[in-house]
Amino acid sequence: MAELKRFLVRRLLTFIPTLIGVTFIVFVIAAVIPTDPARMWAGGEKANPKVIEQLEKEYHLKGSILERYYFIMYKLFTNQMVSPVTHHYIWDDLAKRFPVTIQLTLIAFIYIVLIGIPLGIIAALKRDTWVDTAVRIFALIGVSTPVFWLAYLLIFLFFTQLGWITLAGTPKPDYSITGVPLIDSILHLDFPMLAQILQRYSLPGFILGFMGIGITARIVRNSFLDAISADFTEFAHARGLKKMRIYKHILRNALVPVITVLGLQFGGLLGGAPITERVFGLPGLGSYMLQAINQFDYLALIGAVFFVSLIYLTANFIVDILYAFIDPRVRY
């Protein structure tokens, strides 16, 4: 276990260069685009030269690339960076939006796990029957359906026709443990609040997870079939193990590739969040990023990218921990 702890600490330390790298790349891309940010911020063509000059000074726009990068990161982390566009403290804005995106991706992820994995197992057990084909077609539909189209279709059904869901506001309890309302309301056993949150988030979560459900089902199916037809399964039959025990061997082996895929799916969810948040009017990091891009507010963009990367890294960190428990071949 001491080994595991060392591994985890080392793994956590790799967050630092990754986060620096990601934010630096976004910054460089923003910095090399041939525009004049100060002029854009000050109002475009007809901007007052005095204001432009002041902005340039305030945001160190004339410095070297490294200087500018350091300035942004330092100000962001000490919460001294005010967006030149919204005039809010960027860190405050991000902290407010962070839980929205977390909840959205968590719910999407729950759909993927709760629907994708059982579908995959059923398809594997009923391989080459119509059930298997149906899952295959479902997966194909999942990857080829435009998200916004499906979103509007389901909004029409569940909101306009059935009235099961809400499309405005972001439910938030007045207590806070983790800062994520979904988790807090569960910890508090506050079911009315949980119901509100689910009403608001379950459809966007489903839309966001839709593509992943099908992909996951296919991967689960294939890794199950691999495990079922593996030599060690044949040997398990040959040594007369009980059925349930053989299933245990199959399940555990089949999970190894599935966990990797689930970790990667998380990245896909974060990438899909901007569109889903936009369609459903959810004030999360994704819609914040879109807004920042439109307004050339790259300071806000870098901050948002930092948070999104943090979520992704954490998801992969959890995957690594699971790996270490499931697969003895993983060396740390």
Binding site: A230, D231, F232, E234, F235, A236, H237, A238, R239, G240, L241, K242, K243, R245, H249, R252, N253, V256, I326, D327, P328, R329
Partner: protein, 331 residues
């Protein structure tokens, strides 16, 4: 042939097909043989002739698309008592026999072991599921003794090792340990050394010989290696394209092979009994078992083939009480 002629397994007229997209593979086509208690019975033949399928059929380990079409596998649990037909048993009844009374050792030890569980656990669970021990923990203690008996170096440490931490030879020792953990009567070893280095092969075969003697096992050995056959076996059956073409005791087979295929096979490998000058390959190719040749399945490759061989299946001819051959030349 020791064993006072008491049979342990009697396979009667076994047929196995595989229903593939390309067609029905008639993999086993009327195979019959008897294994006597205490002997080592060998199945030899070219790749794809049906040795593994025969071995797996004995306890109905054939999985779809394969199906056992016909036949009986009579298992004499107690010497001289009434046999049971294994092919007629329920899945649960078979499970209790597999690994406990009839156990297997497969070709590739790296693939036979579950990579996610340590060796001790895999030995323990095999005993636990057959009711030999009352907890997996107890099994770990016994597993150390079992690993000792298969000459695993440093068994106290190895018992907690995962398969990837062992060498190929050690893995096969672990597999043998698993197979023998319930004190089976019959061990079916399907090319147990093919996946191993030459020096390790000898060690594993020596181990099998030693264990066979100690535990009074009956062994069904499947191999390509004629040297191994000469070294280990009491009786040999030569298979060709899903049929047994010749069966004899070991000296008889090497000295006086009758079937043209057996003769060709013995010329194709170094003969441990009779010195031969030059190794010859068998002309022609292994037949497609979806459309097997009619009559004798060997006739397209046989230099003595007659008209009859092309249309009629040769009968089983007993040329002596220990030697049978399926060939029109001897009728």
């Amino acid at each position: 042939m020791k064993s006072e002629h008491l049979p342990i397994i009697e396979v009667k007229d076994l047929y196995v097909n595989f229903y593939t997209y390309a067609g029905v593979v008639k993999a086993i086509d009327g195979v019959s043989f008897t294994i006597y208690r205490g002997e080592t019975y060998c199945l030899v033949g070219e790749t794809g002739c049906g040795k593994s399928v025969t071995a797996k059929s004995l306890t109905k380990l054939i999985r779809p698309p394969g199906r056992i079409e016909k036949g009986q596998v009579l298992y004499y649990r107690e010497p001289g008592k009434e046999p049971i037909d294994l092919l007629g048993l329920s899945e649960e009844e078979l499970r209790r026999i597999r690994g406990a009374e009839i156990s297997y050792i497969f070709q590739d030890p790296s693939a036979s072991l579950d990579p996610l569980y340590n060796i001790g656990y895999q030995i323990s669970e095999t005993m636990y599921d057959h009711g030999l021990i009352s907890s997996i923990k107890e099994g770990f203690l016994k597993a150390v003794d079992i690993l000792k008996s298969v000459l695993m170096p440093d068994p106290e440490t190895r018992v907690k090792n995962y398969p990837h931490e062992l060498s190929g030879g050690m893995k096969q020792r672990a597999v043998i340990g698993i197979s023998l953990s319930n004190n089976p009567r019959l061990v079916i070893a399907d090319e147990p050394t093919t996946a191993l280095d030459a020096t390790v092969q000898d060690q594993i075969m020596d181990l099998l010989k030693k264990l066979k003697k100690e535990k009074n096992l009956t062994v069904l050995l499947i191999t390509h290696n004629m040297g191994l056959v000469a070294d280990m076996c009491d009786r040999v059956a030569v298979m060709y394209a899903g049929r047994i073409v010749e069966e004899a005791d070991i000296y008889e087979l090497f000295k006086n092979p009758l079937h043209p295929y057996t003769k060709a096979l013995l010329k194709a490998v170094p003969n441990p009994v009779k010195k031969i000058d030059k190794l010859e390959s068998i002309p022609g190719t292994v037949p497609n078992l979806i459309y097997p040749p009619p009559g004798c399945r060997f006739h397209p490759r046989c230099q003595y083939a007659m008209e009859k061989c092309k249309s009629e299946r040769p009968p089983e001819i007993w040329v002596s009480s220990t030697h049978r051959v399926s060939c029109w030349l001897y009728s």
